[in-house]
Amino acid sequence: MSRNSILAAIQKNKPAEKPLPAIPSFANGKAAPIDIFTSMVEVGGGQVIRDTNSHNLNTTIKKLFPEAKRIASPLPAVERNVDLDQLPSPGELESVDLAVVRGQIGVAENGAVWVTEENCGHRVLPFITQHLIILLNPSDIVHNMHEAYERIQVDATGFGLFIAGPSKTADIEQSLVIGAQGARSLTVVLEAV
């Protein structure tokens, strides 16, 4: 059987035991990296909107995407018109103009936001939608990836990911094009605290 022969070959060929190094956190101790986070989201091609609360959330959304007809979100606070619980097939989401999901952790050094399937209603939603909004509590922004992974349990759900911008490509002559196969834009909405 392949399995056992592969494992036996590894046992025979592997080098002598080398220990795992300890990983420092590399955080600089200074708080409030919101500005760094904001500029890194912009580097990734997204934008950050600050100080939104539950009262003005829907007006903010409308102002940002006045044209959006089909809006999907698992969040009850969002005015939406796509029922994520009654999908005949995930392909139905192809016509979604805007999706609004909650992010759990933001990472200042690269502008990435951790989102899991529980935040999305359906796993494909943040990709298949034309535009994506992620709500984030600014107190959930950490410095770097080490801190982020300390806070996340990657297998708490079946699927989770970091999103750091709109879908993009530079596969044609290295020219950057936003809107490859996934969402065409990313807006991170930071809630007022």
Binding site: G44, G111, R123, F127, H146, V154, L161, F162, D171, E173
Partner: protein, 454 residues
């Protein structure tokens, strides 16, 4: 002349294109520099990454077993493949079971290495590569020329022409934005119709049994979350012990690859969707043999960022296709001789040994030292081309002997001064093809020194 040199000679015949290719890659290299300089602990991260990989290689069997048992607990089907053929058979059997006729794939160098596409197409499966660069070369029926930017060798005019023919874009259209939009529409149809999706794997976590895939386009996720069957194909070396180690590697990968702080999407797959099925295929295909080669096992630390290609003066001026291997560039030149020493015996010579590859490598593989080591192995095994073998033989005789050395030194200086050009620059003088021989000094250093001492 070995195959790489021959193909490189063809590549550089078009001088302006060579310059363009060179500059495109160098541009990516400079972006990498900028991104890495923004991280004060960059060098420390490289060292940590290298040490983690050392630990992984020294415990690979335990980690793989741990990974397998966790993945199975998570409801994932785990398969093992000793070689490319077994890998392809396993993938096909999964597809056959589900009667899959339409398959989408995201980037995977492993499936490229195994020639999976050809295998499946022969058996009647429609295979669509969904990374834009990969789709371009798939439509063009070419292999990738770079592991991160598969179509880096093509100009937008060529892509425009290709898309006009295959996707019916406007004739003469070359705007990357327009062409990308056309591909988006085309690929969305393919995603919606697909019955299964295959991805490569950037990292696999032993502790949790999950796999991590990094993309910028979101194509891996569009495929995986729309199709009922998801298959992830990984080499045995992709393992990391724990999720916390992803902190190191996600910081290094995109910065090294394209100069981005992180890829747009870093997806962690642990369990299938409630209505879906998830498979992981673990592949050896020569990797355990490489693990047994003490001088070369470090090559298995590679995270396929492509930085060594972008920086390599040979790669930049000879193009990925000149290597004739799935993984081109410096890392390809130390991986492939382990697979077929004779076939790839030219590749370790496709280097100036400048060491730039080792300097940029995020996991600190001693690439240029391994290139040098492979040259020795290739020479010992008798795979040198005749011209090189002869000159090495001569050098082996002349260089250890003072009297022969002195004699030949004089003879050559004399010949360069006296002989007419056709005697010096001809097909026997490989070195002088694009270069002038140095003007020999009237006096050798030795003579000068002796005179001075006297």
């Amino acid at each position: 002349m070995n195959e790489h040199a021959q193909k490189a000679a063809e590549f550089i015949r078009d001088e302006s294109r060579t310059d363009w290719h060179d500059e495109a890659l160098w541009f990516v290299r400079t972006k990498r520099d900028k991104a890495s300089h923004g991280i004060p602990e960059w060098e420390e991260l490289r060292e940590l990454a290298s040490q983690v990989k050392d630990n992984v290689l020294s415990n690979l069997d335990q980690y793989l077993e741990q990974f397998e048992s966790r993945a199975v607990q998570n409801g994932v089907h785990v398969h093992w493949a000793a070689d490319a053929e077994a890998h392809n058979r396993i993938v096909y059997s999964i597809l056959e079971k589900h009667q899959v006729q339409r398959l989408v794939k995201s980037k995977s160098m492993l499936t490229e290495e195994c020639h999976l596409n050809e295998y499946l197409i022969e058996r009647g499966v429609e295979v669509v590569d969904t990374d834009l660069g990969e789709r371009i070369i798939q439509l063009k029926e070419e292999p990738p020329s770079h592991i991160v930017m598969p179509a880096i060798h093509l100009k937008k005019e060529e892509v425009g022409e290709l898309f006009h023919e295959k996707l019916h874009t406007k004739k003469g259209a070359t705007d990357p934005k327009y062409l990308t939009e056309a591909a988006r529409q085309h690929l969305r149809q393919k995603f919606l119709a697909a019955q299964a999706a295959i991805t490569g794997v950037n990292f696999a976590i032993a502790e949790t049994g999950g796999v991590v895939v990094c993309t910028n386009e979101g194509n891996a996720d569009m495929g995986v979350h729309l199709a009922p069957v998801q298959i992830h194909c990984m080499g045995i070396e992709k393992i990391l012990p724990r999720a916390e180690h992803l902190g190191i590697f996600t910081r290094l990968l995109a910065r090294s690859a394209t100069g981005q702080p992180i890829t747009i999407y870093t997806s962690h797959y642990h369990r299938p969707r409630p209505d879906g099925e998830m498979h992981i295929v673990i592949v050896d295909n020569g990797r355990t043999a490489q693990l047994g080669r003490e001088d070369f096992r470090n090559s298995l630390k590679c995270i396929r960022c492509g930085a060594c290609m972008n920086t390599c003066p040979i790669y930049r001026r000879s193009g990925g296709h000149s290597y004739g291997s799935t993984v081109p560039g410096p890392i390809g030149s130390i991986l492939t001789p382990g697979i077929d020493l004779k076939k790839y015996s030219g590749l370790p010579f496709a280097s100036t040994l400048c060491g730039s590859c080792s300097d940029v490598c995020p996991v600190k593989i001693n690439i240029h030292e391994q290139l040098y080591r492979w040259r020795q192995v290739i020479t010992q095994e008798g795979h040198l081309p005749p011209a090189k073998r002869q000159s090495m033989k001569w050098a082996g005789r002349v260089l250890p002997s003072t009297s022969w050395y002195n004699f030949f030194g004089k003879l050559v200086s004399w010949a360069i001064r006296r002989f007419p050009r056709p005697f010096l620059y001809n097909r026997f003088n490989e070195w002088g093809k694009e270069r002038e021989l140095p003007q020999p000094p009237r006096q050798s250093f030795k003579e000068w020194h002796r005179q001075r001492e006297a």
